[in-house]
Symmetry: D2
Subunit: 163 residues, 4 copies
């Protein structure tokens, strides 16, 4: 079985309307490219992204903090309850070939960090700007819009698969 | 979206031919019932169950100990890499509405234990016989064959959902 | 630094007076032997074991399901909050060179299973009797009393360290 | 039992001599204040911090990625093996009342993120500079030297305990 690429979309529970629209458009583009969308399964940016992906018939997976499938937003096809609370963030990062961060608070920051620990590419839309003393470039590649973000994520994922 | 029931199949990496055939038949029955099959994603009983489910067009999810999608057996549609090693066993137990144990060693025992901690029904085919001092009945409901095991798992899952 | 052996004591939140007395005596013997006691940090058998160990000046570590040090029973010297809920059970099993199970329900069963996955010896006092089809001996070595349980745990731990 | 405060020190496996000296001085100050030092248990900044704390007779706990007590650096009194790999980072963050980050790469970033998710104060010495669009202040309070870092960590931990 040739499997599709998996792209995680991470972001806030309570995004601004602008960030929610960005997340939804990211979901649309992921589905249009035939990739699987992974997220944390709850509301806000996660729900917006799933709604976008489902509007194009895409597959959506939600890795949940709690124990109940029913906690997933209605656009999640396959809920994965974990009972691990915020610790499930690292599973959201690890399930994907590339990660797209849309806005985001500390949960998003933890997912970016775990993606980078594993060498997974992270594309950003209005997300954290991360600088370390002595470091030349940001660990997050910023995109200008959702279409570019998904194109960058897929290109980075394919390049990494090729290794 | 009305979601299907999720049934986890747990068992050995290196099963006897008889146990592998049981696991494959369990997979066939899960798919025939329209349920989603969850497993640990690797070989042995996990691969046999996925092969059975895919032969009927079922959906298969594999929650992997490692970090690579490519570690999944070829009959897993949706791999979930965790990087958690054996700790991922608890996620296999938690992702399902009911669990079917086919044979099994200590990994299977850990999954049975975590399912029971959460109140998830466990159906057994030639699996652990668990007795505590003073306890009247086994925590695992034994089935006579794969068809009965899946019927019992679905009935227990539906009963629990109704609560 | 030569470090002491670590022994985990696992058991019920709500033990009978007889099981609580066994757990306390196990704690006394662990401290008398100069070993460190690890447990799940809460009440019941965990608290009884810690009380016993502290009565002899032993060191006690409690690996907690929640996020607050203050959740630990008063006889835990070093609380380790995890926020992982029941998933912390596997950390209790993994932190020790040997495990002593006193009575126990499903949480204890999960700890026994994870200890055995890792090859860690498990000594039992009135705990689960585990049988698999075709298996000759129980994975748990039963002791007659707390003194014997601790002696068996230390001997098994030392033997394993010697490998 | 009145328990001491727990302070986690996080940082790089392979720090510059300057960062290693900062981490060691942080360990000295933690022990001098009677607090318990928690870290990831391995080398680099972790070992330097433990060495500093032990030079003043402090207590050191190392939460390890692997399964063996013997993996801990020689200045760890109480190793906690987890077998969780990098996922143990979140336990290092969660075990403490406050966190001090000395330098640091992506592992340190994940620990900062998890500390902030839980509301745990983070004090920085030459560590990540974290900015989000629209955010006014950094989530990390920068200290000028190890003495100030420990004083800030203890003050923030006490303030939080008082809540």
């Amino acid at each position: 079985m040739e499997r599709p690429l998996f792209i995680s979309v991470i972001g806030e529970n309570d995004p601004s309307p602008r960030l929610a629209a960005l997340a939804e458009a990211v979901g649309v583009e992921i589905a249009a490219a035939g990739a699987v969308l992974v997220c944390g399964g709850l509301g806000g940016a996660m729900e917006a992204a799933c709604r976008g992906a489902r509007s194009r018939g895409g597959v959506t997976i939600g890795i949940l903090p709690g124990l109940r499938h029913a906690d997933a937003n209605p656009h999640v096809m396959f809920p994965i309850p974990t009972g691990l609370g915020h610790a499930r963030n690292l599973l959201v990062a690890r399930s994907a070939h590339a990660v797209i961060a849309v806005g985001g608070k500390y949960g998003t920051l933890s997912e970016i960090a775990f993606a980078k620990i594993d060498g997974t590419p992270v594309i950003g839309l209005d997300t954290w700007d991360l600088r370390r003393p002595g470091q030349e470039e940001s660990p997050v590649q910023n995109a200008r819009d959702p279409k570019e973000a998904v194109a960058m994520a897929l290109a980075a994922a394919r390049k990494r698969q090729g290794h």
